[in-house]
């Protein structure tokens, strides 16, 4: 169980030396208890205390890295069940499943699909993170051959090697030694051998429960840990959406609420379906409900865009407002006569206002001003959406070169600013727009008359 601040304090040197950056050992202990500081900051902590604290302060879901280099992805480290409590930490990995029965040309084609999956959205580069090689052939030859192709042609892409065949496991994992692959396929029957291979080549071991569910899974992870493998991902065996939800929920709860170590590992979910759209929805369930790796059978662009966006939404920090970049956005194809509106850079404000301007079917310029992600009224109240800042932004934005008129439409909620903006923006006229974004289409329509 997690230790309280006072319990941690008893294990610290109690010298108040401040080397950790906190004023007292007690303050440091409190931060440790909240998992907001690392024990490494204390240079004088005893070995005994380090061991005790290390175990207690270890994150409830073990951090695991898949792959190496700039394509490495972190998994685990989650601390909550609901995203409104605290940010979900490490976005789930999407992996394209590749069957070892495919020809080398087909495998290379799939590699290219993964490489070309990068999409830029709201300033983030999103992509298919990994390849899961599947042992559909059942034997070692094709699997080893396919692993070689992946290792040579796509050395940068992290892999999950899915096989229960020991020879295939040995050969393929060896190819990836020191590249942090997942070797998935350990079960009650092959546990010792698979653990040995994972240990030899420093792979993460993927453990699958059969019919025994979470109880069996807990026993298997404990055994594997005793065999010296610490980096583990777990598969409770669920394939139907109902069971995925049940197992993932119970695993996350056990890890976080009970600090139950045998299930404190990232979860791998196999979402493949004949029906591609249904597969997309099962993957969506995995994104929302605690899967750390989701294996897909195909990665069409429309499917990727929807899943990447959902992952981005679910893993957004609920305490930090999503912001959009400060700039003048073009809506439609505005000309030098088109209206200019201004609002703040809270993403929701931007989405709603730009959506309503679009609905008005009037090509426009929308000036979005950096107000640290606050909405209009809040930004105004906090002194971030003021006449002088607006005037400065408009002048520096260079919009004066793109439009002939000098009229700025401001949100109705800050009508009070209109006079002072006109004072500070010489030659400009300020028009007060509607208070709510849904009034924009009517407002724009009335201006056209």
């Amino acid at each position: 169980m997690a230790l309280t601040g006072v319990e941690i304090f008893k294990l610290l040197p109690k010298t108040n030396c401040k080397k950790c950056g906190f004023p007292t050992c007690l303050a440091f202990a409190m931060k440790l208890a909240q998992r907001q500081a690392s024990l490494d900051l204390c240079p004088d902590v005893s070995e005994e205390a380090r061991q005790k604290l290390g175990e207690a302060s270890a994150p409830p879901v073990r951090p695991i890295t898949l792959g190496t280099g700039e394509n490495a992805v972190k998994m685990g480290e989650e601390t909550v069940l609901f995203r409104h409590d605290k940010r979900f930490v490490n976005p789930c990995v999407f992996a394209l499943g590749i069957k070892d029965t495919l020809s080398s040309e087909e495998i290379e084609k799939k590699i290219n699909e993964v490489r070309n999956s990068v999409i830029d959205r709201v300033g983030q580069k999103l992509k298919i993170d990994a390849i899961a090689l599947l042992n559909d052939s059942g034997g070692p030859e094709k699997f080893e051959n396919a692993a070689k192709i992946l290792s040579e042609k796509a050395p940068e892409i992290p892999v999950i090697l899915c096989t229960t065949n020991l020879s295939a496991a040995e050969v393929s994992t060896k190819l990836y030694s020191d590249r942090k692959p997942v070797l998935y396929g350990a079960n009650a029957g092959n546990l010792e051998d698979m653990s040995g291979i994972a240990k030899n080549y420093k792979a993460t071991l993927g453990i699958a429960a059969s019919t025994g569910g979470l109880n069996e899974l807990s026993e298997l992870t404990e055994k594997v840990k005793k065999l010296g493998v610490e980096d583990i991902v777990i598969d409770p065996g669920a394939r139907k959406a109902k069971e995925i939800l049940e197992h993932n929920t119970l695993i996350r709860r056990a890890a976080i609420k009970k600090n139950f170590k045998p299930l404190g590992y990232p979860i791998i979910t196999f979402a493949q379906r004949e029906d591609n759209l249904l597969e997309t929805l099962v993957a969506a369930l995995g994104v929302a409900k605690y899967s750390s790796i989701i294996v897909l059978s195909s990665i069409e662009r429309w499917k990727n865009l929807a899943l990447f966006t959902l992952r981005q939404n679910i893993y957004t920090d609920p305490q930090v407002p999503m912001q959009v970049e400060q700039k003048i956005y073009k809506i439609g194809e505005p000309t030098e006569e088109s209206p200019l509106l201004i609002t703040t850079n809270f993403s929701l404000t931007y989405f709603i206002v730009s959506g309503e301007v679009e609905n008005s079917k009037v090509a426009s310029y929308l000036a979005v001003m950096d107000c640290e992600g606050l909405s209009v009224l809040t930004a105004w109240a906090a002194g971030k959406f003021t006449a002088s800042k607006i005037a400065q932004f408009i002048k520096e934005s260079g919009i004066e070169g793109s439009i002939k008129h000098r009229e700025l439409i401001i949100p109705g909620y800050v009508a009070i600013l209109s006079g002072s903006i006109e004072d500070k923006l010489e030659g400009w006229k300020v028009t007060v727009g509607p208070r709510e974004a849904n009034g924009i289409p009517a407002f724009m329509k009335s201006r056209m008359k």
């Binding site: 609901f82 995203r83 409104h84 999409i119 959205r121 979470l214 109880n215 899974l217 807990s218 404990e222 139907k240 959406a241 109902k242 939800l245 049940e246 929920t249 119970l250 709860r253 056990a254 609420k257 009970k258 139950f260 170590k261 045998p262 299930l263 029906d275 759209l277 249904l278 997309t280 929805l281 099962v282 969506a284 369930l285 929302a288 409900k289 069409e300 662009r301 429309w302 499917k303 990727n304 865009l305 929807a306 966006t309 959902l310 981005q312 939404n313 679910i314 957004t316 609920p318 993403s347 929701l348 989405f351 709603i352 959506g355 679009e358 609905n359 849904n438 289409p441 009517a442 329509k445």
Partner: protein, 313 residues
């Protein structure tokens, strides 16, 4: 270390709400656990998806979602019957968008006539939605509620600015009522309290915490829905135990991702499949977060979400 499944039981329960009449009456809600958590309690009523239709042709819908209805959407009755008889819709959501002053500005009488014609042509439950113009909705929804008297519809949306008249119309004509607020659990709770203070039965309210599309604030709706469910179940808050509605289609089918042609954004893939996936993924997220009723547009998206519900139940 033996594994003991950490199951949760909650003191609260979501109200069971029935809509429609006769054999096609449908009950939603009634669960005492989080969505689809049937491993630890009762989640027996299947969430309901209503097909959205309009009182006027849906000229503002993107092509991909207009296409399935091209032959029927000129007339709300043929549209409704097509959804019920051919697409096997379990419910219809008739949005009286044509009454909006910026649209066709149809009168309350015209709206009432449409409601009457539609409800007389179907036997599945009907949800009647205004145009989201708070002033106009007051008069339109009163007329619509009268035209569908005693058919146990859901009418809405009642908002802070107009809930009194709409709630009164729902009481007088025996309907359920959608209470809509904007992405804030406290506003939602406050509106439910105001409505019940008028003497409206709290078990006849449907909460709409405002939907948002995937990529356009979905995470806010998702978390507000989760928090409403937890307030109702874990804190046993009687003002937060109503079924939740997600008005998915209207938020989804106006974002770039459902409209932009593949020619203009080749990286985004096929336009039609993208739009359908966008609506279906938004819908499933809402179901996982706590929605019991969804209003959707594309038949293929609805079909996929129904299959997903099959897998989850």
């Amino acid at each position: 270390m033996a594994f003991i499944p950490p199951k949760e039981t909650y003191p609260g329960r979501v109200y069971s709400v029935s809509i429609g009449t006769g054999q096609k009456e449908i009950t939603v809600g009634g669960e005492n656990v989080l969505p689809f958590h049937s491993f630890e309690g009762a989640f027996s009523n299947r969430p309901l998806i209503a097909y959205e239709i309009h009182d006027v042709p849906p000229s503002d819908w993107p092509e991909s979602v207009q296409k399935p209805y091209l032959d029927v959407c000129a007339n709300p009755v043929s549209w409704a019957k097509y959804c019920q008889d051919i697409l096997n819709a379990k419910a219809i959501a008739l949005r009286l968008i044509g009454t909006h002053p910026d649209r066709e500005n149809r009168s309350s009488e015209d709206a009432a006539k449409t409601v009457k014609e539609v409800i007389d042509s179907i036997d599945i439950p009907l949800i009647i939605l205004g145009s989201n113009h708070t002033e106009k909705d007051s008069s339109v929804l009163i007329a619509a509620a009268e035209a569908s008297k005693d058919r146990n519809c859901i009418i809405g949306k009642a908002q802070e600015a107009n809930y009194k008249t709409i709630a009164a119309a729902a009481i007088a004509n025996n309907h359920k009522l959608i209470a809509m607020s904007e992405l804030d659990i406290n506003l939602s709770k406050q509106l439910n309290i105001l409505i019940t203070q008028m003497g409206f039965d709290k078990e006849k309210i449907i909460i709409d915490p405002m939907c948002s599309a995937l990529g356009y604030g979905l995470e806010y709706t998702y978390s507000v829905m989760e928090r409403i469910r937890l307030a109702g179940l874990a804190q046993n808050d009687p003002t937060m135990q109503q079924p939740i509605l997600g008005d998915v289609g209207m938020y989804v089918w106006k974002v770039k991702e459902t409209i932009a042609d593949e020619k203009d954004v080749p990286l985004w893939g096929n336009t039609e499949e993208r739009g359908i996936a966008w609506e279906a993924v938004t819908a499933v997220s809402m179901l996982i977060a706590g929605a019991e009723i969804l209003v959707m547009r594309h038949p293929k998206a609805i079909e996929a979400v129904e299959k997903m519900i099959d897998e989850l139940m």
